[in-house]
C-alpha cells in the first residue's frame, strides 16, 4: 500500500515495521511528530520524557534489556542527551538502538544551526542519512540490523526538510523480532574505566569493520549517467536538490551511510570525473573528509555554509544559472512577525514586566520567548532550555559583586522547568542568590504543538498520569517565598512582582493559566471555565491613547480616526486589555 507520509511519520512507520517495542523522547521541532506518530501504534510503548538526556538513558536501558528502542530529538536536544549517547557508543547494545537527530538548517524554529553529523564522528557512532520518506522508513529497518550486527547504537540524521516533506511510501508488514534475552553482563554494560579502556579498543575495531560495510552497502550507491562530465557526492536532502539541478548532466555518489564514510567507494567514484562537487547543507562534513583522502573537490568555496539549501542556490553556485522570475514589489510587502496569540496567558505577565525598565529578565525556550518581541520587549537573554533559571543566578551573583540593585527575574515555562529548570533552581537555593524565578505554567508544552508533560496529568499515549505539582516541588527544595498567580489578573501579577522585588533571597512566582489554544481535559474545564464573553471598545469612551496596544494583542487594531477596535471573532475574553485601559473604554460584551 502506498501513502504520502512526512519523513517523521515514515520514521515511526519504519520503527513499527522493524519490531520496535519502546521509545522515549522529548518534543522539539522538527522531530516532534515522530513520537506523535509512534504513539498511534499499540504494539509500541512510547513516552514523553522530561528531557532528551532522560529519554536517551531510557532507551539505553531498554536496549540493554533486549528491546529494539528508539529516541528522537531536535539537534540541540542531542546536546542535552550527549552524555549517555557518547558512552553508549562504547557499551554497545543488546536490542538495536537508534537516536534520531532532526537538524534545522535555516533555523526555522531553533536557536542555532549546528550540524549533528559531527556528533557521529565525535561520538564514534555509525550514522544513516535519509533523503526522502521512503528512505526514512526503509533505513530505520536497516539501521536496526546494523546496530545489532555490529553491537553499536545508531545516529539517524534528518533535517527539517526531510522531516516535514511528504513523499510516497510503500508500506510493509511489522516484523515481530521480539525482545532478546537479558542476563547481567558486568564487563559489557558497567562503564568503569577498566571496561571502557577495553571498549574503546573494541569500538575502534568495530569502526574499521563498519568502514568495510560502508564501502559494500547499497545505502551508499552510485547513479551513473553515461555522458556525464560532472560527479556529485552528496547525502540527505541535498541529493534530491542535486538531481533537480544537474539531472543527467551529472553522475551521483549518494551516501546514505555517512559515518564511517566509504573511503574506497569515494576514491573509485572520484577517479572517473574531472569536475567533482560535494553538495551538502551547512558544514563541510563530507568535503573535509574527502579532501583528507587527497581528492580534489569543490564544495563550500561555492555553496554557502549558512542557511538552508534549495535547488536555486545550488544552481546559481555551481552552474552560475540565474533564475528567471516575476519581480516582487518590495514596498508592497510588510513583515508578519509572530506575536503571542489572543488570550495568551503569557501576555499579562510580560506586560507587567515590560513596565519595569530597570529589571533584568532572563528568558528561556518556548512561546514566551516572544516576550522579547515588540511591543513588550521584556527580555534580556535567551540561550537554551533551562538557562532562563540559571542565567538569572549568574546575573544576580555579578550584581552582588557590583552592588547593582537591579532586580533579576528569570522566566521559564512549565515543560522547560521540568526539562532542566529544576536543577537550575536547586543551584539558586543552594548558592542563594537574590533572584525571582517565574514559572509560566500554561498546562501544556506549547511551542512544539501541544504535547503533554509531567505537569498535565496525561501521557503521550493519552493515559492518565499523576500530576507533578510545581508549587510543592519548589517548596520542597527550599524556596520559601512562593506565589501562585493568575497571569490574566494584572493586579495579582503586579503585587507578586512587587513583593518578590523586596524579598531578600530566592523566590518563585508561578503564573498558572492554560494556553489559549489548548484543548482542555474534562477536569481542566471545571478549573478554567471557557469564557462566554468578549471585550469590545466603546468608541465614545476611547480617547485614542493607545495604551491597549502596549499589550500586543493581535485582536486589537488601531485607527487614528476611530481609535482602538477589538475583533470579536478572535477575542477570547482574557480581559488584559480592559485592565490596561485608563478610561474604562473596553467593556465585557455578551457571548462570543
Amino acid at each position: 500500500m502506498k501513502q504520502l507520509l512526512t519523513g517523521n511519520e515514515a520514521v515511526a512507520r519504519g520503527a513499527y515495521e522493524a519490531g520496535v517495542t519502546i521509545g522515549s523522547a522529548y518534543p522539539g521541532t522538527p522531530s516532534t511528530e515522530i513520537f506523535e506518530a509512534l504513539a498511534q501504534y499499540d504494539e509500541i510503548y512510547s513516552e514523553w520524557a522530561p528531557n532528551e538526556k532522560v529519554a536517551a538513558e531510557v532507551v539505553v536501558g531498554a536496549s540493554m534489556a533486549g528491546a529494539r528502542a528508539i529516541s528522537a530529538m531536535k539537534h540541540v536536544g542531542m546536546n542535552v542527551a550527549s552524555d549517555p549517547i557518547y558512552t553508549h557508543a562504547y557499551l554497545g547494545v543488546n536490542g538495536g538502538c537508534i537516536y534520531v537527530t532532526a537538524d534545522d538548517p535555516g533555523l526555522h524554529s531553533s536557536q542555532n544551526e549546528q550540524d549533528n553529523r559531527y556528533v557521529a564522528l565525535h561520538a564514534k557512532i555509525p550514522m544513516l542519512e535519509p533523503s526522502d520518506s521512503q528512505e526514512c522508513k526503509d533505513m530505520i529497518g536497516k539501521a536496526y540490523e546494523i546496530s545489532e550486527k555490529y553491537d553499536v547504537p545508531i545516529i539517524f540524521r534528518m533535517t527539517t526538510r526531510v522531516c516535514h516533506s511528504k513523499s510516497v511510501v510503500s508500506l510493509g508488514e511489522r516484523n515481530e523480532v521480539g525482545i532478546k534475552h537479558y542476563e547481567r553482563n558486568i564487563p559489557k554494560f558497567v562503564a568503569t574505566p577498566a571496561a571502557c579502556r577495553r571498549h574503546h579498543v573494541e569500538l575502534e575495531d568495530k569502526l574499521q569493520r563498519l568502514e568495510d560495510f560502508s564501502n559494500e552497502t547499497n545505502l551508499n550507491f552510485t547513479m551513473i549517467n553515461k555522458d556525464a562530465k560532472i560527479g556529485v557526492i552528496t547525502s540527505g536532502i541535498s541529493f534530491q536538490y542535486a538531481k533537480e539541478v544537474f539531472g543527467e548532466q551529472a553522475s551521483y555518489l549518494k551516501l546514505g551511510f555517512t559515518y564511517p564514510i566509504p573511503k574506497q567507494k569515494i576514491k573509485d567514484f572520484a577517479a572517473n570525473y574531472d569536475s567533482l562537487y560535494v553538495v551538502e547543507e551547512n558544514d563541510p562534513y563530507l568535503e573535509t573528509q574527502i579532501k583528507a583522502l587527497g581528492i580534489s573537490v569543490l564544495g563550500k568555496e561555492k555553496i554557502p555554509i549558512t542557511g538552508e539549501l534549495n535547488p536555486e542556490i545550488i544552481a546559481s553556485a555551481l552552474l552560475v544559472k540565474r533564475p528567471d522570475y516575476v519581480q516582487q514589489d518590495k514596498a508592497l510587502v510588510k513583515g508578519r512577525p509572530p506575536t503571542l496569540c489572543s488570550g495568551c496567558p503569557h501576555r499579562g505577565l510580560f506586560f507587567e514586566l515590560s513596565k519595569r525598565k530597570d529589571a533584568v529578565i532572563t528568558g528561556d525556550i518556548g512561546c514566551y520567548t516572544l516576550g522579547s518581541a515588540d511591543p513588550l520587549n521584556a527580555m534580556d537573554s535567551v540561550i537554551c532550555m533551562g538557562a532562563g533559571v540559571s542565567a538569572a543566578h549568574g546575573f544576580a551573583k555579578v550584581f552582588e559583586q557590583t552592588n547593582d540593585n537591579r532586580k533579576v527575574f528569570g522566566v521559564v515555562g512549565d515543560s522547560t522547568f521540568f526539562h532542566s529548570g529544576i536543577t537550575s533552581l536547586i543551584d539558586i537555593v543552594y548558592n542563594q542568590s537574590n533572584c525571582t524565578i517565574i514559572i509560566l505554567d500554561n498546562r501544556v508544552t506549547g511551542m512544539t504543538g501541544h504535547q503533554e508533560n509531567p505537569g498535565t496529568g496525561y501521557t503521550l499515549k493519552g493515559k492518565k498520569a499523576p500530576i507533578i505539582e510545581i508549587e510543592p516541588l519548589v517548596r520542597s527544595i527550599g524556596i520559601e517565598d512562593v506565589r501562585l498567580v493568575n497571569p490574566n489578573n494584572l493586579k495579582e501579577v503586579r503585587e507578586a512582582l512587587n513583593a518578590a522585588s523586596v524579598f531578600e533571597g530566592p523566590s518563585v512566582i508561578i503564573t498558572k493559566w492554560p494556553c489559549a489554544l489548548k484543548k482542555l481535559h474534562e477536569e481542566e474545564k471545571k478549573e478554567y471555565p471557557v469564557t462566554e464573553w468578549v471585550y469590545l471598545v466603546d468608541p465614545d469612551k476611547c480617547r485614542k491613547c493607545r495604551m491597549c496596544l502596549k499589550v500586543g494583542c493581535p485582536s486589537i487594531s488601531f485607527d487614528p480616526q476611530v481609535g482602538s477596535y477589538i475583533d470579536r471573532n478572535t477575542c477570547v475574553g482574557c480581559s488584559v486589555c480592559a485592565q490596561v485601559c485608563p478610561f474604562d473604554a473596553i467593556e465585557k460584551a455578551g457571548d462570543a
Partner: protein
C-alpha cells in the same frame, strides 16, 4: 529533464493552507502521480506567513522549488501573493483571494497595509482574483474559503478528472463535509474575471 508541475500555496497561519494541500496531494497520489509536498511547521499558528509546496509528475526529486518555478501560485491573502510572487514562473498563473489580513504592526497602526497590491500584481503576471472569503461568508462559514480556492485551482490546473469529493470525504470532519463540497463546487464553477 523530467518535468513536473509545481503548485505553491501561500497564506497566513490559520487560513487552512495545510488541509488544502493535504487534499490536493492525496488526490494527486491516488491519481497515480509521484507527489512531494513540503511545509514548514512552527510559528504558523501565531499569525505568520505560511507556504506549502506541492510538486507532482512522473517522478519528483526535490520537495521544494526555487524562484521562478511555480506553475501556479495560489494565495489566500493579497500581500502574501506579493511576498511569494518571485517563486512564480514567468509563464505561470497567480490565483489570489481578494482579502487582507493585517499583520501585528499594521494592527497597531505602526505600518499601513500596502495599497494597490492586486493592480501591481496583475501588471506583472497573469492574475485571477477570487473574492473567496466574501463567498465563504455568504455561505455562512468563513473557514471554507480554502476549499473555494481549491475548486478554482482544480479547474485552472486541469485536474477535474480526479475524484476530489472522495478525498474531501476522507480528510474533512464529517459535520463539515457538506458545506465544503458546496464550497468546492462554487469555486470550480466560479466565472473568473481577469483583473
Amino acid at each position: 529533464m523530467i518535468t513536473c508541475k509545481n503548485i505553491l500555496l501561500v497564506g497566513v497561519g490559520g487560513q487552512g493552507t495545510i488541509l488544502t494541500s493535504k487534499i490536493l496531494s492525496t488526490g494527486l497520489l491516488n491519481a497515480g502521480y509521484d507527489v512531494k509536498m513540503s511545509e514548514i511547521h512552527g510559528m504558523a499558528q501565531r499569525g505568520g506567513s505560511v507556504s506549502t509546496q506541492v510538486r507532482y509528475g512522473e517522478h519528483v526529486n526535490s520537495p521544494i522549488i526555487g524562484r521562478g518555478e511555480a506553475d501556479i501560485l495560489i494565495a489566500f491573502e493579497k500581500m502574501e501573493a506579493m511576498r511569494w510572487v518571485e517563486f512564480l514562473s514567468k509563464s505561470g498563473k497567480l490565483i489570489v483571494n481578494d482579502y487582507e489580513i493585517e499583520s501585528a504592526p499594521i494592527l497597531a497602526g505602526k505600518e499601513t497595509y500596502p495599497e494597490g497590491v492586486l493592480e501591481t500584481l496583475s501588471k506583472k503576471t497573469s492574475t485571477l482574483v477570487i473574492p473567496a472569503t466574501k463567498m465563504a461568508m455568504e455561505m455562512g462559514n468563513i473557514r471554507v474559503m480554502n476549499i473555494i480556492m481549491l475548486g478554482v485551482l482544480v479547474k485552472q490546473a486541469g485536474l477535474a478528472s480526479i475524484d476530489w469529493k472522495k478525498e474531501m470525504n476522507n480528510l474533512i470532519k464529517p459535520k463539515f463535509v457538506d458545506i465544503n463540497l458546496k464550497a468546492f463546487d462554487l469555486g470550480y464553477q466560479y466565472n473568473i474575471k481577469g483583473y
